[in-house]
């Protein structure tokens, strides 16, 4: 399994043709207490960069983009009851949705963990 990162602070775990997407620890830290997550419906098709989810903190609503193109095969239902999972475990149990990847070549432009850490350190 490989983990990729975007400059919009999403992480993507890729296993075969399935990508699991969430927001990074840095992102949840910036957002603060998360009170609601709006997740995409199963079967939704996204192009890279489409609005895919919305995360609501106490203060503001933020869009989460589809980091790559694909079809949603599952959303993390646990976030409906416990949106704070995104704060407490953003890069594991606080995942947002799984995509069936339509164009694996889109992964090429993304960062690995080391590159992302350097990117965040420069912000």
């Amino acid at each position: 399994m490989s983990r990729y990162f975007t400059d919009e602070h999403e992480w993507i775990d890729v296993e075969g043709e399935i990508a699991t997407v969430g927001i990074t620890d840095y992102a949840q830290e910036q957002l603060g207490d998360i009170v609601f997550v709006e997740l995409p419906a199963e079967g939704a098709n996204f192009d890279k960069g489409d609005d895919a989810a919305v995360v609501e903190s106490v203060k503001a609503a933020s869009d989460v983009y589809a980091p790559i193109s694909g079809e949603v095969i599952e959303s993390n239902g646990a976030l409906e009851d416990e949106p704070a999972l995104v704060n407490s475990d953003p890069e594991e149990d606080g995942w947002f949705f799984k995509l069936r990847i339509t164009d694996p070549s889109e992964l090429e432009g993304l960062m690995n963990e080391k590159a992302y850490k350097a990117f965040v350190a420069g912000l």
Partner: protein, 379 residues
Amino acid sequence: MSVNSDDIAEFEAEIPLDKLPLDAWHRARGGRMVAFAGYDMPIQYEGIMAEHAWTREHAGLFDVSHMGQLSFTGEAVDVALETMLPGDIIGLKSFRQRYSLLLDEDGGILDDLMVSRRPDDIYMVVNGATKFDDIGWIIEHLPDEITMNHMDEQALLALQGPEAGAALASLIPGTADLFFMQCGAFSWNGFDLWVSRSGYTGEDGFEISLPGEAAEAFADALCALDAVKPIGLGARDSLRLEAGLPLYGHDIDTQVRPIGADLGFAVSKRRKEQGGFFGHARVMKELAEGAPSRRVGLTIEGRLPAREGAKILAGGKPVGTVTSGGFAPTVGAPIAMGWVEAAHAAIGTVLEVEVRGKRLTATVAPMPFVPHRYHRQKI
């Protein structure tokens, strides 16, 4: 991921940013600074939810030094101020504070404010984002014999919460004698303090005006107490929303008038009868005919917050707009404040709000959403 700029409009920068007396103090304590009302201000320290809960249970220290502190002196200063404020300023006793409004000719709200009578002046605290406009308006309309002094060297701190009374009394015993909306002069470590028992959270608490050079030491002394933690602007906003208190520039502005804003209590009986303030005719018209739309509270079904700008609908037709909204930590659910047409403003009216194409059930609710716990004088 990106934060929608609409939702954080109130934190927009007005460049260049000035530094407030506690700027370095906030940073040293881990405050996350954002641009607000022309200054860098702390939006949060450990997190809005935790800071909100701390203030409801203990005592929170807020730096509100961005607000405008004005002093008015001169012969018959109270008479002069009554031309601009609809409240009973002549009848305001010494060491008493009152909520009031700065109104324009059409009764539009230029600002909401606190006004106090002190032994040597009348003291006013106005909103930070509007203070320079207020000063311009006031100078234009104030008689020449009245002097206005913008006390921009003064810091302003608010200590709020059920343990605020004991905390402040441990440093300044005399403050224990103040009741809600009373105020007085005190001293601490050789500095002169002006303290009022009031605030913007719905809790008991104080607002403390003190020289900027004393602010760090005083904030340190308060935060050395177990009951006190510094609290950012984020929790200040969620606390005031739960308390049903309007935020100027969002819930009220020059487009609305006191009666529709549910702030008719700021227009005193004598002033209604006698007039003599800007907007009197328009205010009387709204009193007689009713305001066409009104500021109301809304409870939102579900967990999705409805924020400023969300449309309010009745039977599918737009009847208003949300002006403040978010997740209410103490209520444990989303709440909002908004303006709706008078026909739909009665408590209990079931409406809808539209959030990203979804329609959520919203019910007109009495405010405050969380009961006020002011330290009132028993009569």
